[in-house]
């Protein structure tokens, strides 16, 4: 009589013959994670990935009740929050996980910048990562409007109007994005399509590329650790590193549940295009430093509108960020690059200070 184990064994053999499971297993077995004093930063990518998966699951669940139209959207979210069992939980987790995901993605990016993990041959990994962060912010911007409440309505009005300041193509781009000259029901359906179909498709593709590159090149060892030499220590990815990852993910899930329970997502008032903008409209926190910068720019700088200068500045900054592996070559040559460290520190300080001012400066003075 064949035992259950033998029977499962033969099923496994059958599948292995056809799918090549053993090859996948041996890849997992060979994958090693370097161990040194900066190893802790390796967990941030996996943490961001976990939060992304939470977004996929909760996002799909929200689709079961959400109705994408200017007439229905607010009421459908209200219904979800008030009537549907655990509706508040799903939506709150979606909102909190989105914020935490962007936070960990930023941390991940800055840690990669400090540890020089973008240097050759990982340029494509860096670029795909920066674009993924941009997509995450796009997810945030489009998703913010979907409940169709007052704050989101005016934040989107401002956000798309800022785009209009871009020379030559800005007005056209803003019109296509909004589906008209103003934020309206047409904007809502567009943002919905972008949020639930376009961005997920592009993000899935780029995420696949990003993870494939990580798998192909392995984890980068920081140059200062490499310079010190000494015995190279490492741990196996499977199961040692993955189990540590899992502990982090469980902690993240617990934090998400706690945040969702104690600070559930707000809904506010339904958007009214014919009501004055409320005091203290705010973008999501990760746009705050840019928003606040625009506030401090004067109406005109030389012969440009202040906004235009700000937008061009941030576009250039984004481009420089994308090109970091090609601009900072010293670490590829194995030399220290203190200047770059200071630039990253300055960027972090700038983001911190402007974000702080954005939340504390009096909006009515």
């Amino acid at each position: 009589m064949t035992t259950f184990k033998q029977r499962m064994g033969s099923v496994w053999e059958w599948l292995d013959d056809r799918l090549g499971l053993r090859a996948i297993g041996s890849i997992a077995e060979k994958k090693e994670v370097p161990v040194h004093r900066h190893t802790v930063w390796y967990y941030l990518g996996g943490m961001t990935l976990f939060l992304f998966l939470v977004q996929v699951v909760t996002g799909i669940l929200l689709l079961f009740y959400y109705r994408p139209s200017a007439e229905d959207a607010f009421e459908s979210v209200q219904f979800l929050m008030a009537e549907v069992e655990f509706g508040w939980l799903i939506r709150s987790i979606h909102a909190w996980s989105a914020n935490l995901m962007i936070f960990t993605a930023f941390l991940h990016m800055f840690s990669v910048a400090f540890l020089r993990a973008y240097r050759r041959p990982r340029e494509v990994t860096w670029i795909s990562g920066v674009v993924l962060l941009g997509l995450a912010m796009g997810f945030g911007f489009t998703g913010y409007l979907l409940p169709w409440n007052e704050l989101a309505y005016f934040a989107t009005r401002v956000g798309t109007q800022i785009m209009e300041a871009v020379p030559l193509v800005g007005g056209f781009m803003a019109t296509v994005l909004r589906g008209g000259s103003d934020v309206s029901g047409a904007t809502l359906t567009r943002f919905y399509a972008i949020h639930v179909a376009v961005l997920p498709m592009v993000a899935t593709f780029l995420l696949g590329l990003h993870l494939f590159m990580v798998q192909k090149h392995g984890m980068s060892v920081p140059p200062d650790v490499e310079r010190e030499g000494g015995a190279k220590r490492s741990m196996r990815f499977f199961p040692n590193f993955l189990l540590r990852d899992l502990v982090g993910w469980l902690i993240a899930l617990a934090i998400l549940a706690a945040l969702a329970a104690y600070f559930p997502a707000h809904l506010g008032e339904k958007a009214d295009p014919f009501a004055p903008a409320p005091i203290g409209i705010k973008p999501e926190w990760y746009f705050m430093f840019m928003f606040q910068t625009l506030k401090y720019l004067p109406a005109h700088i030389l012969w440009f509108e202040g906004e235009v200068v700000g937008i061009i500045g941030f576009t250039l900054a984004g481009l420089l960020l994308l090109l970091v592996p090609f601009l900072e070559k010293r670490s590829t040559r194995g030399e220290p690059s203190r200047l770059f460290t200071w630039i990253v520190v300055a960027a972090i300080v700038y983001i911190f200070v402007l974000t702080y001012l954005g939340y504390t400066a009096d909006p009515t003075v």
Partner: protein
Amino acid sequence: MVERGPGSGTSRRGFINWLLGTSFGGLVLAVLYPVGRYLIPPAAGESAAASVTLSIRPEDVAPNSAQIFKFGNQAGILVRTPGGELRAFSAACSHLGCIVQYRDDVHHIWCACHNGHFDLNGRNIEGPPPRPLDEFDVNVRGDEIVVSRGA
């Protein structure tokens, strides 16, 4: 550049490649063009009306206050100055398009989004707005208010 007739072998391959490449390019264009046009929203039937009769009665707007009204699909703001005069402007801030409101404490039209101030002639006097608010003409006919775009 050597002109190759359709007789030689390499040019036949070249011709086929050219044909395939052009056809493929044509196919891509034939797909992208309709998709591109589809994504550009049709021009909204912008209200051509040059004037609108408000549902607000003149006595409903007290001095030193204002009300938002609809001008087609745009928002306008009807202000009664502390002196009692009625004035109307586009309510879309010239900065980033937020809907403005009246501040009775400072007698300004004010945008809450970025703290932009306009005086009661619609002039941008403080904060980021780069231009004055568009002004409309206000006519009171009996107990009706008619707002019209300036000529």
